[in-house]
Symmetry: C2
Subunit: 331 residues, 2 copies
């Protein structure tokens, strides 16, 4: 069946039947707006991310289900980076008419699966036909206790800089795909099915361990730059401390130039945060409790000292890879 047979309202009815609203939601899909409640004493967090076919994904490289999951994860990652709990998701879809309904059902299944993983409800959306690429626009709402919000701007000189998980995996997978090769399965999964660090972000905020936080979507150095700019600080980063996965390390051994992917590659969706030195023991405990490695990769310094990064041998890098910029250089 094609979308043209089902019709817009048939498709919305299908989504509505599949999305069963949870307790936080007063009114879900099927009216002019979703109606929900923000618990007393909590603040609302809102973020939105657009995924465009042939820019953010290629339909021949991924599956509709993973694409649905990823569309949710990249938004949840932004909520996690403030320390919040994701509550509601809104799904905007622009669909080329030739896309089979079965493919949309799979995409929707992925969205709902990820929503359930993170404890969120699909609360609304908009669907329309697209004359060009498949367009997926997700908005996520979360909540957080008023005194627990972690902004990008809270880093202070002397704070340690940490990153969760490993870096560069997603960018290495993308590079393989772009070269026409099949990425190693772990790397492929990191690229196509990233997991937002929802629980970790909530605990870093809840236990007041992080002074500033951001998720790594544009690349370590680019996102560090955003955090430092907001905090009006500089940083020293030790390349030897960057956490690398075994498949990434294996590839790096064969091609040392790949190190730039750990510094500059996007879409790892790890949490990059700063913490005062006295939080070190609590962070070791948190890493053990969550099973997510937390690596100390550097130190916040005064803004006048700028940003310095060493390579894996401890030599200062004079040229830094830039992160992802959606517009630059595309004229």
């Amino acid at each position: 069946m094609k979308l043209g047979d089902l019709g817009e309202f048939g498709f919305i009815a299908r989504i509505r039947a599949a999305a069963r609203p949870g307790p936080g939601l007063c009114l879900g899909i099927g009216d002019d707006c979703a109606v929900s409640e923000v618990p007393a004493g909590e603040l609302l967090l809102t973020t939105t991310d657009m995924l465009l076919e042939n820019v953010h994904f290629r339909r021949d490289w991924t599956s509709p289900r993973l694409l649905g999951r990823k569309s949710v994860a990249v938004n949840v990652s932004d909520i996690a980076a403030m320390g919040g709990d994701v509550r509601h998701l809104y799904l905007g879809l622009g669909v080329p008419v030739h896309v089979p309904v079965a493919e949309l059902d799979e995409l929707l299944a992925g969205v709902l699966e990820a929503a359930a993983d993170y404890g969120a409800d699909l609360a609304g959306g908009d669907t329309c036909v697209s004359p060009g690429p498949l367009v997926i626009s997700v908005t996520a709402e979360g909540t957080i206790a008023r005194d627990r919000v972690v902004q990008r701007s809270g880093a202070r000189p002397g704070d340690a800089i940490y990153v969760s998980g490993t870096l560069g995996d997603s960018a290495l997978a993308l590079r393989e795909l772009q070269a026409g090769r099949t990425p190693e399965p772990f790397l492929a999964s990191r690229h196509h099915d990233p997991l937002a660090r929802a629980d970790l972000g909530r605990r870093l905020a809840g236990e007041r361990l992080a002074t500033a936080m951001i998720d790594v979507s544009d690349g370590l150095l680019a996102d560090l730059g955003h955090l430092l700019w907001a905090s009006a600080c500089g940083a020293k980063i030790a390349g030897a401390a960057l956490p690398l996965s075994p498949p990434f390390s294996a590839a790096l051994a064969a091609d040392p130039a790949l190190f730039s992917l750990a510094l500059g590659g996007g879409e790892d969706y790890e949490l990059l945060f700063t913490a005062p030195p006295e939080a070190a023991a609590a962070l070791v405990h948190l890493a053990a409790a969550t099973g997510i490695p937390l690596s100390r990769i550097g130190t916040v310094v005064p803004a006048v000292d700028g940003v310095s990064v060493t390579d894996r041998s401890g030599h200062l890098l004079t040229e830094l890879p830039s992160g992802h910029d959606h517009f630059r250089g595309r004229v």
Copy 2:
């Protein structure tokens, strides 16, 4: 200047500088999420609408400023249809790289102008390059007192059916544009620069006058159908009572077939609502106070009686125009 010269973060900095957050917003553009507050005793309303180039608009038929204004208005209209106050807007943009920055600045100016008109803040968004059409995805958040929400489902047999403003203007303008003609200025303005009935919706809810409400975006009969389906009711609609503007009436005099645009044409963004008979006097007063005509166009009947519509001479229509469906018939 082209987007490629400015870069993604240059463009975001431009938006951030232009959008000055108001008092309801704790943290606007520039972190992973916007942070805001929902007043105690109020519920959160959220809606999202996507506008795609060559589906919802053509760049050669409108101006970037009006396009920005309309992107906001269509979302505010959904908040108004629940009776709420719009608070925050989130702007997702997928931009073809060849679009001049001056055009984006105009679009942004239109967004901010409309946001100010409706008392909302631009609180966040996402920008990326689009390989195809210009994509505009807006999410709006509003608030409403817990006991004032007006749903689609509250209509009861015996309620009167009202619509604000006039019908068919936007569809007639679109028809002229599609035929290569220049629409009459009032009609053109209704199509390119629709005004959401924000104050009217709020007052209909605040004074508990409406039992059910929806905005007319897909066409009168289609949106009436949504309302009746949610309310499990039928309706009798008197074609002679449909409110028509002078330019629409003039065109109708020359071509009686245009009446189907008043019944089926989309994008009027008027409010369609039901009210008990005893609200009639208060609605006359409200129309006078707001300067917005409120026309009684029919009556809610039991579901078993179905939906019947008469033409302007009072004869029952046997074939009803269907509203806009984004997918159907597009295979």
